[in-house]
């Protein structure tokens, strides 16, 4: 995975709380079996009208947010389903950093796996950032993950907390499966010592074969 140490980008705002994953990427696109090119489906029902034309009223269509790579939003962003298609769509559209007072748990995990940094700040600080982005066209923020700081082009700055391990994985671009497989011997030892009837294999010869 691509390493994430420092990132500077244009900030777009989405002033809504509880933006759910059905809004981020609607379910009709969940039938696709690849994991690339989901950017065109991001916020699909908001970006496009029912006849398929672009919706000029949608906030990301404002010219000043063209090319935005950081999304500033409100609490509980990404609530709802476990679909990883949501961060895939955000990342493919161009977003590398999300800033909000809180994120839904599964969504937050999925972001880290997709190379997106979700930054949680208290509501007042998020409000401060909203005011700046609204007031200053072309507002950019520099995200320093190593030192856990955000710094705006006007010098406004705040620090953030991040899980130490997830930070390490992003900074070093690590594949978590490889990390777990370093423990293959321990996994095998666990399997050898956990063979109670309630830990048994679930394969039965006839299941799934009756057509």
């Amino acid at each position: 995975m691509e390493k994430f140490k420092e990132f500077k980008g244009l900030v777009a705002t989405l002033d809504m709380s509880n933006v759910d994953t059905d809004q981020i990427v609607p379910k009709q696109f969940l039938k696709l079996i690849h994991r690339t090119d989901f950017g065109k489906y991001l916020f699909y029902h908001h970006r496009y009208t029912e006849d398929g034309g672009p919706n000029p009223d949608f906030v990301l269509h404002q010219p000043r947010f063209n090319g935005a790579t950081i999304l500033l939003t409100r609490e509980n962003f990404g609530c709802g389903s476990s679909r990883e298609h949501a961060p895939w769509a955000l990342r493919d559209y161009g977003f590398r950093v999300l800033i909000a007072p809180s994120f839904a748990d599964i969504f937050k995990t999925n972001c880290f796996k997709t190379g997106i940094l979700p930054v949680e700040l208290d509501g007042d600080t998020v409000e401060q950032w909203f005011k700046r982005v609204d007031a200053i066209p072309g507002y950019e923020i520099t995200v320093d993950l190593v030192n856990q700081t955000l710094t705006g082009i006007d010098g406004f700055s705040s620090s953030f907390e991040v899980d130490r391990f997830l930070k390490h994985c992003l900074v070093e671009g690590l594949d978590q499966i490889s990390l777990s497989l370093e423990h293959e011997a321990a996994i095998e030892a666990y399997e050898q010592t956990h063979r109670e009837p309630w830990q048994a294999s679930i394969t039965a010869p006839d299941v799934g074969r009756l057509q």
């Binding site: 809504m16 059905d22 039938k31 509980n76």
Partner: protein
């Protein structure tokens, strides 16, 4: 002072290191067509295999059509490709799969418990947020993303930081006509859409002990709707009785030994929780959502709230937006709101007891003119048992459609869709904008409330029809 979560956690700990989250063993990995294809692709491109196909179990549910003459290939080529990919992946890696035509096929969270795949004290993961359902058995069960599905396929483990705990202590008895769905909605209303973030909810108290397994599954299923990582209920005699004789549960002497172990799975009386919420179930009325989040909920006797009456600015703004989407005016009695569609089914309320409750209301009555009402059993066995009891006749005679198992109208990934602007009383779990179809307007309710609403053509307190 161990809490149940700690007991399950410790039992599944494979590796604990200072610098990484705990690595936990996964006893049951459930998969379906929507969130697994990219995980298998990842495995292949990394040259990895499935570590324990014998602990992995698959079904087709989200995109499965529910019409009675459904067949493959599906009319939707994209959905067909997804089913095809699941078949190929299960075949290539030796994973058991319930095909669309299999008598046990159905919604993964209905099928797995029904086959006895979910056991107390186990860890259960699935690329689906409603995996929280299985906490009803005293299992640590939660939804994961596709990258984590790939991780579990490759390692049979999940790196995980232990969630905080929220005890929801419920006392009092649910009244007649009031379901565990109503209790779940009431709790979500109290906690808010993100109120459970970062927490596992353990439901405790005499009310919970008195719930059937199916009622417990509904309650745990909805836990994720307030953002909780999982729901959890300590196993007890009700749990053991449910599991006895089920296909994948331990049998004979093994079962007795398992029960001896399962009896140790409870939170000790001095267990500490990070938070606690006390809920009185007595006097609780049927609940119905008015907005576009499960937390935007009220009692059936209440009126659509005035956003101005809400405390926080964000809540007010969300309410204004939701009412506009829902086409509702503040002050309108919920019971005056007409419905066009009724959906009874899903991993929340697609089990036999749900259908019995709905049929109890529908019996010898007719669906109101202009209302399209669907009953979608959660699985083949639910359908077969309901038919053996004659419930299909009750529904069909009343004018409901009686369909094949699948996720159906819960999320509109299949042909069952609520048209734009139409209003649906739904026993599913999410009333998000556009979820049941673009422009659809969803009111989440219990099976009894859904059936009563189908009969009258407006949101209705099922106690009126008892």
């Amino acid at each position: 002072m161990s809490a149940l979560l700690d007991k399950i956690w410790d039992e599944h700990l494979v590796v604990r290191e200072a610098v990484r989250p705990d690595l936990l063993y996964v006893d049951r990995h459930l998969i379906h067509e929507v969130t697994s294809a990219q995980a298998f692709d990842g495995l292949r491109s990394a040259g990895r295999s499935v570590r324990r196909p014998d602990l992995t179990f698959a079904t087709m549910d989200h995109v499965a059509p529910t019409d009675t003459n459904r067949c493959r290939p599906l009319q939707d080529p994209i959905a067909e490709a997804q089913l095809d990919a699941l078949e190929r992946n299960c075949r290539d890696f030796g994973i058991e799969l319930l095909h669309m035509g299999h008598p046990n096929q159905g919604v993964i969270h209905v099928v797995a418990p029904e086959l006895g795949l979910i056991l107390p004290g186990s860890t259960v993961l699935c690329g689906d947020s409603h995996t929280s359902t299985h906490g009803a058995f005293g299992a640590l069960a939660f939804g994961i993303g596709t990258s984590e599905v790939e991780h579990v396929l490759a390692t049979q483990c999940i790196p995980q930081a232990k969630p905080k705990t929220l005890a929801v202590r419920v006392r009092g008895t649910l009244g007649s006509g009031v379901a565990s769905k109503d209790l779940a909605l009431a709790i979500i209303g109290r906690l808010g859409a993100g109120g459970g973030n970062g927490h596992l909810i353990e439901y405790i108290g005499e009310t919970i002990s008195g719930l059937s397994m199916e009622q417990r599954m509904t309650l745990c299923n909805m836990s994720v709707e307030c953002g909780a990582k999982a729901g959890l209920i300590a196993p007890d005699e009700t749990t053991f009785a449910y599991l006895k004789g089920r296909r994948y549960a331990p049998q004979g002497a093994d079962f007795d030994r398992a029960v001896d172990y399962w009896r140790t799975l409870y939170s000790n009386s001095d267990a500490a929780y990070d938070r606690e919420l006390v809920v009185d179930a007595s006097g609780l009325a049927p609940h119905v959502t008015w907005g576009a989040s499960p937390a935007q909920v009220t009692e059936i006797d209440a009126a659509v709230p005035d956003p101005e009456s809400l405390t926080h600015e964000e809540e007010r703004e969300a309410a204004v937006r939701a009412l506009e989407y829902m086409g509702l005016q503040p002050g309108t009695p919920m019971r005056d709101i007409p419905v066009d569609y009724v959906f009874i089914g899903s991993c929340t309320n697609g089990r036999l007891s749900d259908l019995r409750e709905a049929a109890g209301i529908a019996r010898n009555r007719k669906v109101a003119r202009g209302v399209t009402a669907l009953v979608v059993p959660g699985s083949g066995p639910v359908k077969a048992q309901a038919e053996a009891e004659g419930l299909d006749r009750v529904f069909l005679d009343a004018g409901f459609e009686w369909r094949e198992p699948g996720c159906s109208m819960c999320l509109g990934m299949n042909p069952d869709i609520v048209p734009p602007g139409k209003r649906c009383a739904s026993t599913s779990n999410r009333n998000f904008e556009d979820r049941q179809g673009r422009g659809s307007r969803t009111h989440l309710v219990s099976p009894a409330t859904a059936a009563a609403s189908a009969i009258t053509g407006r949101l209705t307190d099922p106690r009126e029809l008892e």
